[in-house]
């Protein structure tokens, strides 16, 4: 067995058990916040925030890969950026969906154009643009254009992150690291899920980069054959 495969197996097993244990904590162990108006739907928090954490992690890797690609021009950095952008976008999509589902019981509306939600939606569209540019721009320029778009996306990610600190709006203010924040069992469940999703992100990155390398190898060999 190749060493890479054994690491993938370890990551797969770790992700599976951590995510399953996280589910147990969310559904069976942690108490519902006594101060929340939405009742048990408050527990969406334990998925929603880690999902956004993974999305930002993905976009951070995309930013690093894109900037390094623009500086050095080596394909491996662009490939890394592309794979991380794809995973980041999947998680932003889920983050938006869970946010909409949580908004209804919490605020009695599905959506509102508050700064956090609006900038998050803009972020999603920026990365749709990233993938469209990669797919349809002239091949000689697509990677450079996409890298620049990902830098714009990073600026927007920062605005998304800061929106609830800069403007007081519908979206709740940050709870972690503030006075009177989360109770210890809630904090433990939250951090546990954060760790579980982070391990899952690493697994997805390995799977996606392996796929990209295989696809590139197929293209390289096909071109040599032609």
């Amino acid at each position: 067995m190749r060493k890479g495969y054994s690491w993938d197996n370890v990551l797969f097993a770790a992700s599976f058990f951590l995510l399953a244990a996280g589910l147990y904590l969310v559904f069976m162990w942690v108490p519902t916040s006594a101060t929340s108006l939405e009742g048990i739907a408050q527990r969406i928090f334990y998925f929603h925030v880690p999902l956004w954490w993974v999305a930002f992690l993905g976009y951070l890797v995309t930013f690093v890969g894109s900037v390094t690609y623009l500086a050095k021009g080596t394909d491996k950095w662009d490939n890394l950026a592309f794979c991380a952008a794809e995973i980041g976008s999947v998680f932003v999509t889920i983050g938006l969906v869970t946010g909409v589902i949580w908004a209804k019981p919490a605020w009695d509306i599905w959506w509102t154009w508050d700064p956090r939600l609006t900038t998050a939606l803009v972020l999603w569209f920026i990365y749709i643009g990233y993938f469209l540019v990669r797919a349809y721009a002239p091949p000689s320029q697509a990677r450079n254009f996409a890298s620049v778009i990902s830098i714009i996306g990073t600026l927007d990610s920062f605005i998304v992150f800061m929106a609830i600190r800069w403007w007081r709006t519908q979206h709740p203010a940050p709870l972690i690291g503030t006075e009177g924040g989360l109770d210890p069992s809630m904090l433990f469940t939250f951090l546990f899920n954060l760790a579980a999703f982070t391990v899952f992100f690493i697994l997805l990155m390995r799977v996606r980069t392996t796929l990209k390398a295989t696809q590139d190898e197929v293209i390289r060999l096909s071109q040599r054959d032609d």
Binding site: I40, I44, T98, P105, V207, Q215
Partner: protein, 48 residues
Amino acid sequence: MEKNFGYLFAAYLAILVIIFAYVYRLFRAQRKAQSDLDALKDRRQKKD
């Protein structure tokens, strides 16, 4: 059943469905790419 349990369940289901669909797509694409790669290598070997 507790108040608003349906929303919690819907959120969890959305996560599960989207992640499962993405992972399934990745594994299918990997399988196809690997079989294309094996076929190409095979063809090259026969050529040589």
